[in-house]
Amino acid sequence: MSTQFVQAAWGGILFGSVYGLMALGLTLVWGAVRLLNLAHGALFVVGSYVAYWVVSSLNLPILIALPIGVLAAAAFAYLMHLIFIRPVIGKPGFDNSTLIATVGISIAVSAAAILIFNPEYKVVPPVISGNFTVSQVQITKQGLLVIGASLALFGTVYLFLTYSRLGMAIRAVSQQQEAASLMSIPVVRTYGMVIAISGALAGLAGVLLSPFFFLNPNSGFNPMIQALIVTIFGGLGSVRGALVAGFVLGIFESFVEVYYGVAWAQPGVFLLIILMLILRPNGLFGIGEVRRL
């Protein structure tokens, strides 16, 4: 197999897993709460920086820093829900308020990261270091971990949503919110749970991905934009969609990058998404109406 092909394939599968991971939390929250969480990137940053701090200041191994980072991100997400989302649930200005609020939180977190740490790039150690080569392409073990984690998480989330009590409650709330409350499901608290779970997912993505680039306070924005794109491409609210769309877009971008150059990768993806929005705004597996009149 040609080096180029292996490079593109490896990149594609890796990107795909990453995108899927980032998109999963976003799509869950949209499905359940109908909230577009533009602070998703901030959760990514929180997870990464907490893990970094555990490793560099507490001198603990990354394996311990990982769950701490994830928990921190989940807790932060839940806090965000309590302060900024819960007060406006059910009110007519919900979409407006939460859109702006999450944007505000996003930049606040960036600024906080600069203040607490500093704007310099940080290095987060990988959970598994080392690599090997296939057809002259470097395959990192951390990369394999990311792919494995992503697939495992999708599987876990799927099982969770299908069979667990909370998972079914989340599905119920996203499908028919009033009926859910009539079944004694605490709707608002369920929202909080979903948001916390999405925080955990974003935090995990953050810790796993940070070794691939240098962590900085603005690290969250790009993954979030990617997550948005993947989520909408796959269909807002669809877990399956996030997985499929993640890989489709990841592989597409990787191949474009390898064969046509890095300058075309981003625009290529954007054009693809624009096309999708025009032709099929619901995305691949989307739920709920999108069309205006």
């Binding site: 009590r165 079914m168 599905r171 119920a172 499908q175 028919q176 009926a179 009539l182 079944m183």
Partner: protein, 233 residues
């Protein structure tokens, strides 16, 4: 068991319910009769926490549940089977039923309830894996009822059980509700057709334009010729 005192409720700028007083005693079947659009659904929604009342009180076994959230009220045993069913469209029949038992019963409790529901509507067991949104009108109603029965309800509020159903299915539905009542459940049913509920009702309230205009024992009211004329749907 359930007491409503001076309940006032509405939407936006308007008031739909003007100081409603009603009660449902243990084991009773109470029917709220009234034409469409006069507040029956609003009444049920206000009682079960889907609509915050503007004034008045709702008491369940003496506890003031007026400002309680809907899920808390459901957990307290006051279960609302809403107009339009409000099923979970992308969940299967079985999943919908299981959601009714969200309150976390023991396995045996849950199985017992499930068995009872299957007794009432055997087809629910056979077609357990069918998605709720593919069901017909009558089937949805039955599923909604079954779902409500999965809870630990002591008082069932049913909003227009026969809405949009063909006469044959309607009969089936009411027959099932009758069986439920016989097993000891207290009922508060909102309906617009006196005929349907004749066998179920112990007492009847008449709701017109948001106010209770008459009330009394069922046999008394339902014998009233003039009444029957206007309420024979």
């Amino acid at each position: 068991m359930l007491e409503v005192k001076g309940l006032v409720a509405g939407y936006g700028g308007g008031e739909v319910l003007h100081a409603i007083d009603l009660e449902v005693r243990e084991g009773e079947g109470v029917v709220v009769l009234g034409p469409n659009g006069h507040g029956k659904t609003t009444l049920l929604r206000a009682i079960t926490g889907l609509l915050p009342p503007r004034a008045g009180q709702v008491l369940l076994d003496g506890k003031d549940i007026t400002r309680w959230r809907a899920d808390a009220i459901a957990a307290a045993g006051l279960v609302h089977i809403p107009q339009g069913d409000l099923l979970f469209p992308d969940m299967t029949v079985t999943e919908n039923l299981l959601m009714g038992a969200y309150y976390r019963p023991t396995w045996s409790e849950r199985d017992a309830r499930l068995a009872r529901v299957y007794e009432l509507f055997p087809w629910l067991k056979e077609r357990g894996n069918q998605l709720a949104r593919t069901l017909s009108g009558g089937e949805r109603r039955m599923l909604a009822l079954g779902r409500g029965l999965m809870s630990k309800a002591r008082l069932l509020l049913i909003d227009e059980p026969s809405l949009g159903l063909a006469p044959l299915i309607t009969q089936q539905i009411y027959a099932s509700i009758h069986k439920v009542k016989e097993s000891g459940m207290s009922l508060l049913i909102a309906d617009e057709n006196a005929n349907h509920v004749a066998g179920l009702a112990d007492r009847v309230y008449l709701l017109e334009t948001g106010s209770l205009v008459r009330q009394g024992p069922a046999d008394e009211l339902l014998r009233d010729k003039a009444l029957l004329e206007s309420y024979l749907g």
